[in-house]
């Protein structure tokens, strides 16, 4: 259990709803759910979720902290916003799903092998390092995610697309070594740091 996880567990005891309200992006909306089920029924991927949004909200209220935060359900959200436009109470369900995923990740409770989480982490690392997305490294990183052999196999399978992109001048092989970056890299880092500060303060000021 991470240190942050231990301290928040101590702080909120059994009141997981309050913990969500105070720490999760849009978490203050969870109590507004009236359990009608329209979100779950409207979700195009709903059948693949272990716990649809409606159930997650009820689990939060029932204090099922471990089950909610270690669930991979909220990682399944593709941000289609169908649930948000249909919700009779206008809950920002997509936002809550991403908020829960992000919070679970922060506490170290998110499932270890979860493709959406892997991709999100790689993408974030990739684009915040230089201020530009290095597509070649991101792609290769994903290919080799499941090991060396799997990466080579995947790369071989995609070779014609890669060559096509190369010929069309859409892929620069030298990106693999250094890659391009934005002009003011320090500025980008300072901006991200400031954004994190503001975010922390905003959540802090709500309680």
């Amino acid at each position: 259990m991470s240190e942050l996880n231990t301290s928040t567990t101590e702080k909120y005891h059994n009141n997981f709803l309050r913990e969500v309200e105070e720490n999760v992006e849009e978490g203050e909306w969870v109590k507004m759910c009236m359990q009608c089920g329209v979100c779950s029924g409207s979700c195009p991927l709903g059948a693949h979720w272990a716990h649809p949004p409606q159930e997650l909200f009820m689990m939060i209220r029932a204090g099922k902290r471990e089950a909610v935060l270690s669930s991979d359900s909220m990682w399944m959200c593709t941000s289609c916003y169908n649930c948000v436009v249909r919700c009779p109470r206008k809950l920002p369900i997509t936002g809550i799903m991403h908020g829960l995923a992000s919070y679970a990740n922060k506490l170290g409770m998110a499932p270890k092998i979860q493709p959406t989480r892997d991709f999100s982490l790689q993408f974030w690392k990739n684009c915040t390092r230089t201020g530009r997305v290095n597509e070649l490294r991101l792609t290769l990183g994903l290919y080799f995610n499941d090991g060396l052999m799997a990466g080579i196999k995947k790369g071989w399978a995609m070779r014609n697309i890669g060559l096509g992109l190369l010929k069309a001048g859409r892929l620069n092989p030298f990106e693999l070594f250094k890659g391009h970056s934005c002009k003011d890299q320090q500025g980008i880092q300072a901006m991200l740091k400031k954004a994190a500060e503001i975010e922390a303060r905003r959540k802090h000021s709500t309680h």
Partner: protein, 428 residues
């Protein structure tokens, strides 16, 4: 038309449904002068279009009959049909009101013999059956119509139908020269009883009311169950005319939804519980009703009725708001998709017919009322600041018939207090 004599001691009641009739009669029976105006050609409003009332399942004809009897026996009420209020100005106890009265083209000589309807050929959608069938351009609105006089639809004027109708009338009742006219009145208080209308079901996109013929509203179902309705009391599917024996009722269709109506319409739970009994009445144990709901709002004495329906083996309940409906192109059957709240099971249930328990919205929304009033966020009339315009029945909030009558009686009392005060001021 003779202009009614009105003074600041007169009470104007706008709307001739159950609330308006009640308010008018209660005030008139206290000796007050009342003018009752109704936009359509007949009194009775939506109550006259119900098959049965909950919870006792008696027929509205009974209650309307009593009220019409009271009305016929009371000289204090002046009824104006086809009349709309276009302007109200003034202050508490003293209002100038302008009415806009449309021509009926048929005068008091009419005996309701029906010869004019036989003579005309053109048909128009029948609003008294929510457009489920057609009616002739010369028509009697319904069996309980008051005044009991035919109407000639304005679309017939200038056509051969109008002349045919006039030629067929043996009582010289048809007057094609009638004109729209404005009537000015002075009144002391106004009772606003314009009632409700169903929410536009086509706006609830995932339910496909506009695309699937076998998705209907609870009001259309009500007409279908009625012997005088478009199917003669048979519960038939609009797509193929087959008997619908496996019927789904979807609660909160439009109501309790920030995207549609934000209020609870209060009547729809009881209406659907009642309508399951129409299915039982039609088919006995062979019919099947399924109610999809968020929660059932059957309060006070209605709880007994809810328990009774719960114990009916032909009725089942699914705790879930249906997410969407899909139609099987060939059979016209409908598949309801959703996830239930009691176990979070994903379902895809097939039904013959889907009845949307459609929500209520005010027939005339607050902003459209031609007077200074305060309306709530749904457009229901709350009050008139410092004035004497009082909401009665569903113009002020979603109510069933019983509560509308109570509410209208209270409104009548408030109006009486105002005109009594102006009477004492004038006397002194």
């Amino acid at each position: 038309m003779a202009t009614p004599i009105a003074t600041s001691q007169t009470i104007l009641v706008v709307g001739g449904g159950i609330s308006g009739m009640t308010a008018a009669l209660e005030a008139a029976e206290c000796g007050k002068q009342v003018i009752l105006v109704e936009k359509s050609p007949t009194l009775g409003g939506r109550t006259a279009l119900m098959y049965r009332y909950f919870p006792k399942l008696c027929h509205p004809i009974c209650g309307l009959e009593i009220n019409l009897r009271r009305l016929k026996g009371n000289r204090n009420v002046r009824v104006l049909t086809l009349a709309e209020v276009s302007k109200i100005s003034g202050t508490r106890g003293n209002y100038a009101v302008t009415l806009n009265v449309a021509p009926r083209y048929i005068n008091e000589n009419c005996t309701a013999c029906g010869e004019c309807a036989k003579a005309v050929t053109k048909e128009i959608p029948n609003p008294y059956n929510y457009g489920l069938n057609q009616m002739k351009v010369a028509y009697l609105p319904h069996k309980m119509a008051y005044p009991l006089r035919y109407v000639l639809d304005p679309s017939a004027i200038g056509t051969a139908d109008a002349d045919a109708a006039r030629a067929a009338c043996k009582y010289d009742a048809i007057d094609l020269n009638m004109q729209r006219e404005a009537v000015e009145l002075t009144v002391g208080a106004v009772i606003w009883a314009t009632g409700w209308k169903p929410y536009d079901a086509a706006k609830i996109q995932p339910y496909g009311y506009d695309r699937y013929p076998n998705v209907i509203t609870s009001l259309e179902f009500e007409r279908m169950a009625d012997l005088h309705g478009p199917t003669g009391g048979k519960l038939l599917r609009p797509s193929d005319g087959k008997e619908a024996k496996n019927i789904a009722f979807i609660q909160c269709a439009g109501s309790r939804d920030e995207n549609h109506l934000r209020h609870c319409s209060r009547i729809c739970c009881m209406a659907s519980l009642k309508q399951t009994q129409y299915v039982r009445e039609a088919y006995g144990a062979d019919g099947k009703s399924t109610i999809y709901y968020i929660d059932i709002r059957a309060i006070d004495r209605f709880e007994d009725f809810y328990l009774k329906v719960q114990n009916d083996p032909t009725v089942s309940f699914v705790k879930s708001k249906v997410a969407r409906i899909a139609q099987d192109g060939n059979s016209g059957d409908l598949t309801l998709h959703g996830v239930d709240t009691e176990g979070y099971h994903r379902y895809a249930n097939v039904h013959d017919l889907v009845v949307l328990a459609i929500g209520m919205e005010p027939a005339v929304k607050g902003v459209d009322i031609p007077a200074e009033i305060i309306a709530d966020s749904s457009g229901f009339l709350e009050s008139a600041p410092g004035g004497s315009i009082f909401g009665a029945g569903c113009a002020s909030g979603p109510l069933d018939v019983n509560r509308s009558v109570q509410h209208a009686t209270a409104a009548a009392l408030r109006a009486i207090q105002v005109v009594n005060k102006s009477a004492s001021t004038e006397a002194s």
